[in-house]
């Protein structure tokens, strides 16, 4: 990106609240998280299982010297599990100053969306809890579900689910 382009992009941003989203697929749906929350995207790596953890907590990985927990989003959304393949990636996001990895089926694109383009979540029955959805947006002819990453992977939430798991046992 050269200087004029950069300036243009900045001006663009000023005109309307355009935000960038990393989109990825789980099952047949597209999901998006704000690009600023995403630290990096890595391929599947060796995951060390942590005993007595919630089932969606796949374990921990070594991210260049830091131990980072990873969550299987399919399990988090109570979707049927699927074997990891060459498209499976871990999206490392930062939630409240800690890093967490999300395992998703595949990563697709970075898209730009205006704030006005994102619609409130309609209150109909969906497979996932609507609390975690910030809204839905249309990119080309795809529907993208924008996730509220702070809610979906917040420590207190995960802990609560952990407790539920404990109690269920």
């Amino acid at each position: 990106m050269n200087a004029t382009q950069k300036k243009e992009a900045m001006r663009e941003n000023e005109r309307s609240a355009v935000k960038q989203y990393v989109t990825f697929m789980i099952g047949n749906e597209y999901y998006g998280v704000e690009v600023l929350k995403v630290q990096e995207i890595i391929g599947m790596t060796q995951i060390v299982y942590v005993p007595n953890s919630a089932d969606f907590m796949k374990g921990v990985i070594n991210l260049r010297g830091t131990v980072v927990p990873v969550v299987d989003m399919r399990k988090r959304f109570r979707m049927p599990e699927r074997e990891y393949d060459m498209f499976t990636v871990i999206i490392i996001v930062e939630v409240k100053n800690r890093m967490i990895g999300m395992i998703v089926d595949s990563v697709s694109d970075v898209v730009e969306m205006e704030e006005s383009e994102i619609q409130e979540t309609p209150h109909f029955a969906v497979k996932i809890e609507t609390d975690y959805i910030r809204g839905m947006g249309q990119v080309d002819d795809k529907l993208v579900i924008i996730l509220d990453i702070d809610k979906i992977l917040s420590a207190s939430d995960l802990e609560k689910m952990n407790q539920d798991v404990e109690e269920a046992k």
């Binding site: 060796q46 060390v48 299982y49 942590v50 005993p51 007595n52 953890s53 907590m57 921990v60 990985i61 070594n62 010297g65 830091t66 131990v67 927990p69 800690r98 420590a155 207190s156 995960l158 802990e159 952990n162 407790q163 798991v165 404990e166």
Partner: protein, 699 residues
Amino acid sequence: MAENTIRDVFLEEAKEILRHLETDLIQLEENPNDDVVHRIFRYVHTIKGSAGISGFEDVYGFAHQLENMLDAVRNKQIPITKPLVDLLLESADWIAEAIYESPDFDRQKLLLEKLESYQISCAEGESKLADERRNTVPSAEIRYFRIHLSFRSNIFENGIDPLAIIEDLVSLGSVENMRVHSEKLPPFMEMDPEKCYLEWTILLKAHCPPKKIEEVFLFVKDDNVISIEDVTDDFAVFEGGKIELKERKIGEILVRRGILTEAELDEVLAIQHKTNKKIGDIIIEKGFADEKSVRQALGDQRKIQTRIQATTVRVETKKLDTLLNLLGEIVISQSSIARIADELEEEHGYRLKNALYGMDRITREFQEQIMAIRMIPIGPTFEQFRRFVRDVAVEVGKEIKLEIRGGETELDKTVIEQINDPLKHMIRNAIDHGIESPLERERCGKNRVGTIVLNAYHQEGNVFIEIIDDGRGIDKEAVRRKAIERGIIKGDEELTDRQLQEIIFLPGFSTATSVGELSGRGVGMDVVRTNIEALRGTVEIYSIPGKGTTFRIKLPLTLAIIEGMIVRVGKNVYIIPLLSIVESLQPKKETLKTVEGKGEVILVRDEYVPLVRLYEHFNIAADCVNPWESLVVVVESGKTKIGIMVDDLVGQQQIVIKSLDHFITKSRALSGAAIMGDGTVALIIDVHGLVGEIVSVGD
């Protein structure tokens, strides 16, 4: 920005000073002496100065008043009494509040009034006495004077002997240096024995005011050239023995000492400029001074330099943490190199390994050094409880003496920061429940003043902290009754000491009938234990009825790096802290017993030890499911031993602990993770937690 920095430095500095101040004030009450008074004065003085610079005007003004009062105490115009100490402690509190919270002006006014009225009431009674004292007692300060004596040549005619004057002078203090100027001495043949040709420069170190020195020359000062110069600042030896020396060149030192004159120095410097010789050599060559004094001056110069170099550096703990983390990375890389060395063919592998051993030694040393930086003595933490004990004792109407031992014992800074609250709880506990009232103590034939001892020492790679009281001890019967009441044990069950401990540390357990400010609500002890366990420590209680109670806290030296045994279960690798391991063995089939409802035990050295099948506990796949085919690592936590069944022992290694976010697992059996040489993550087994899980399941 700059202002903020000054403020930050002040905030940090003041914290330390206030802590010292508090300790010394308590000491002033217990054991008043001049040193303590001087120290207190200095603390207040420093606070005053720094507060002025960093813009705490209110603190400055207040400290100034306080300083005036302390000056009077120092000059023995005001006697040291308990009300005085109370007043001073209150004032210190106010300063702390004004600095870290916001100044309360009503209280300040009240305090100032109190200070003033106290001062006046003392002044009235003692003013006469003090006046006398002030006149007779010379200031105890050590001062340096440079005295130049140049007498009239016909001084002997008046019957005055310069030697007698010099001897008088010498009797006032000690001569640090003396130089006789003999330039005016004529050739022998021309010399008149009844004339004085010599001049003297004397450097005198004395404990008296300049006036006293002047008195020596009372009869000669009018018609002779006598100069007295107070050069104390150059030597800067202050009352407390604190020495601040500026870097000095040797020539200047010689001039200051009166060995060399300014003119001579200029000459010497001119020569040095041309010849590039050493200044000392030139001085000797020229005969301005003898070799001895030059050498002495050189020595002094060296001393000055070392003084300047031997200063400390304040470093943010975060930087040390970063350093330690980096070192951790080195340790990791090192073990990956070691892995490669294993794969190499014999000769190169051997050489590489040898080199690695050398490197390993250095990293270990390196690590120890960094650890040593992080280590701070526990003394100050202990000291701050003096005030606490005093206040609480007054509050509950008991007489208690706090004794501190092993204050020099060093601990990791993080540990010290986190041990504060648990200690406070336990001391409060000892005051409330341990120590009896003075009357009760006298009835039992004990000293009416109770003693609480804070003790710290190193043993076997651990730090022990003890809180010992000589109170009534734990009432076992009361604990038992409470335990039965709460349904923890059955009515006819007897309590073992271990159970007793367990019960005391249960949440919400208290035998107290009344609820105090802090203890008695039954929140204390379980919090204490949780906090200490979070530091990978343990706490034990020993109690003898009527004699007292001892709480013994065992803590690891450091939190960041441990020596670990790497074990394998199926495909999973775990780390067991080496310090917890008692032994590892391959059990025989016949040593294995199953206890109905309690699980399996193995017989190890005539002792039945519960067996934990790690693969079962962690719900993972293992290679061996029969204990006699696998290995058992016997670990100990507190006084409980368990055997951990694993597939294999992989090796022993230093590991850097990385914390595991608490939401990842509910299991208490895991305390963290570590990154191994090959980049994989291994989980660290928390032996204490694992034992806890096993025992609670077993019960």
